[in-house]
Symmetry: D2
Subunit: 267 residues, 4 copies
């Protein structure tokens, strides 16, 4: 026991429903960690930590697929670039380089999942409130987005082909018997977009949002899932950078277009 | 020269107006760095880097005051707590602990400056568009915020006394002859709030936003300024943690309120 | 295609052995991602990303257990504290709060795995070079550590009971038929420590290091594995903080022991 | 006052010598913050926060120069690259992008200052212990580094010309009458390196370390100073990235050299 320890007064304890431990046991959401280690996969534990319950075997398989799909990280993704740039300057800080990669995950990279999930929740609520078919709700949202000049989260890829992960995820969701309004709505949205805008296929963010909606998750988990899985890819990139590259390897041609040389005025 | 270097093709160079260097000189926004080192203060260089020009002597003094005001960082601020918690686990990662502190700066800590600056810009635009006095624009914004149940950025302190830094900043802005619509509007807003809501004194975020508006800055710089200055306080906290505390000193009483112990179902 | 894109010249491409993609397929280490999503677990993909090959079924089970063991994160761990402090100030920056938690993982928290793995590699090399039994190599290392007054990585817990995860991991390693010199050495070290110093049970870092050595991993992966798994726990804490707590809830009594109030000298 | 607040028991308060505040005043190291805002520069406050005392006017000027020298940040520095990559994916997270840049500061970028300061302290201690001239201590260290095949921190530039900032810093140190053993030793080391190895001019890290030694700083402050100043340059880069570039502009040609496409074995 460290003499420097600070103890908070007991009457104002923090409350948490995640972990409990005594000298001999550790429980995660009520399950002994050794029991989970013996009988569960990490994917199930990710679900348990965030949703409070262990999933069915089908959902377990789906959750593994969601994590594998999000672990993929190409060298030229901005998260990998940030992580490798940090690793190149900070050769002993694995945690720092991985964190730098995580910090590139935001509204323009890996961040469409949460707004897409919000859009789905909004659309399904409208369907129920106004007793209209999903297809009509999708058409309304397409019209509103066109009018407002806004992009639709979850649709569209840089190269307008399909992402192979989307069909696999939807197939596994069907096999796990969890495909519901989320997937149905995203498919309706894709159809309506093709009719009224262009062929904008459901992208990975959109597929994940659809499935997480059908699994009962709140929007914030979409980004959490992406970060959890993506850290595995970022870690592989940082360790490859350490193993294969020297510190100073990146040279970018920069054209300076600022003010011409001038003298500091003497005050 | 490192053999592993990667060179980008010259036709697609990055463009930047910040720094230029040849083998013997380094220029920041056109000024030689050695010239700046001899004749300028760091505060002026912060302004130069972000606005492109060196300030007048009065604004230089004001800029130093803005940075000093934002450097202050109490032990129990969330940024200091995040930095010290990280330092306690990562005793050789000064950059990691400081970065952890920076990451606590957001909408609920040090983040009111940018929305406050946006509110000021919006109000001044309304004054010009509708040819109404600032006081009336302030009254309208108070009414709108009351109706919408929204908090006003830049007003209010936890303990409802005044922050001593606000008056000093406004005095230095007057002495630098830059006090303009930004400060006038925030004072009008404080008066109107007192009349229609409660005594909500201008806080540090509000004073900084007012002055940065009067100096011609875009909203994003409000958070940038706070981060730049605050890093000095965070660094002092991390080095104090390393020097005075042992790694494991934080003990928080936690009340677990999650599920009771249960067995993992065998599949 | 974005007009602003910068393309590096092809003769100096970056090289990477992790991911390959064309318009219709994505491969991780040669396996199609959709194939992995259908037939593998995330734990296997973590192994694949870092070691280049998919594991046997027994090792897959072991890898899941290693990840689950490392996902556990108590509220009062410094990583959780850093993450929750950042979350309390930065309520819309999930990636920032998780990164702050990752940055607390260092030499004094989750960081004993890599030096423990190095110690094991060093000891096994000595066994082979000097043709001595593992037990003798362990005894020598104990003596050297006592003489140098150094702590042994991988041994010892704050409360000197056993960590329940250690036995489970060693059992699963035996069932996967990968228990080798790594586990044997750590057990010898624990025995020799008990005889010559005190009862210092193998801790989680030590068990993970032993198993990763037996799986053929380099030391750096020990910290990588901990970070990858721990991010799942950190994410659950940040989302719980967002869902259950208000921004400003942390108050720490601070005793100031610096200089008394004094006036700034006028220059 | 927030109902959720947690209060630590008073008997185990944290201790800190940095900041004190009551409802009406804020003191930094004993000085009222408003007094500092009116009569000091930010550079002096950085010194005050880290060393506990305000400097003389000459040292104030020197400290401004040290900060300006370290604020410089070229587009192709790894810290700027990490920050801009993060900014490109996370367009609303200024704090995240700046933190990503800070995380690239490590042993291979901006990190030579602390080991250089340690080397100086070690050399000066040897001079005093063995009553030898500084020149001889420098020669010994050169010989030891050659024998061990180690690089000397603080010497050498990528392009072997001189860094213009070094002479300016040494001149300002002389003018502030603080040039002492630190600067004298680094100059002796440069001379001895030129005689026994090659022309390895003192670089910025070496000049900063020499001056910080002469100012009485501990090694850790060398990295702290660099981070504090560099954040100003990083911030300018991130805001330029937001203002001038679109999210997806970085394309790097990657040559994949990993395993050929293969099928996942069915278990």
């Amino acid at each position: 026991m460290n003499d420097n320890e600070v103890t908070l007064s007991n009457d104002r304890a923090w409350h948490s429903a995640i972990t409990l431990a005594d000298g001999e046991h550790i429980w995660l959401r009520g399950y002994e960690v050794t029991d989970l280690m013996t009988h569960a996969t990490f994917a199930e534990v990710v679900l348990l930590l965030h949703q409070g319950e262990l999933p069915s075997p089908g959902v377990q398989k789906l959750m593994n697929a969601l994590l594998i799909a999000s672990a993929e990280c190409r060298v030229d993704a901005r998260s990998a670039l940030a992580a490798r740039a940090a690793a190149s300057g900070n050769r002993r800080g694995l945690e720092a380089a991985i964190a730098a990669g995580v910090l590139a995950i935001g509204d323009a990279h890996g961040g469409a999942g949460a707004p897409c999930l919000e859009m789905i929740a909004h659309a399904v609520a409208r369907v129920q409130r106004e007793s209209i078919p999903l297809e009509q709700a999708a058409a309304q949202i397409i019209t509103e987005a066109k009018t407002a000049g806004q992009r639709l989260p979850g649709l569209g890829l840089r190269a307008q082909t399909t992402d192979p992960r989307v069909a696999t995820l939807f197939r596994l969701a069907a096999e796990a018997r969890v495909a519901g309004d989320g997937i149905a709505f995203m498919r309706a949205l894709e159809r309506q977009a093709r009719e009224h805008i262009a062929y904008l296929p459901i992208n990975l963010d959109g597929a994940i949002a659809a499935i997480l909606y059908d699994l009962g998750f709140a929007p914030a988990f979409a980004k959490a899932l992406y970060i959890i899985a993506h850290v595995a890819g970022l870690s592989a990139h940082v360790l490859e950078e350490y193993a294969r590259e020297q510190p100073l390897r990146i040279k970018i041609p920069v054209e300076y277009d600022g003010p011409k040389p001038r003298a500091v005025p003497r005050s």
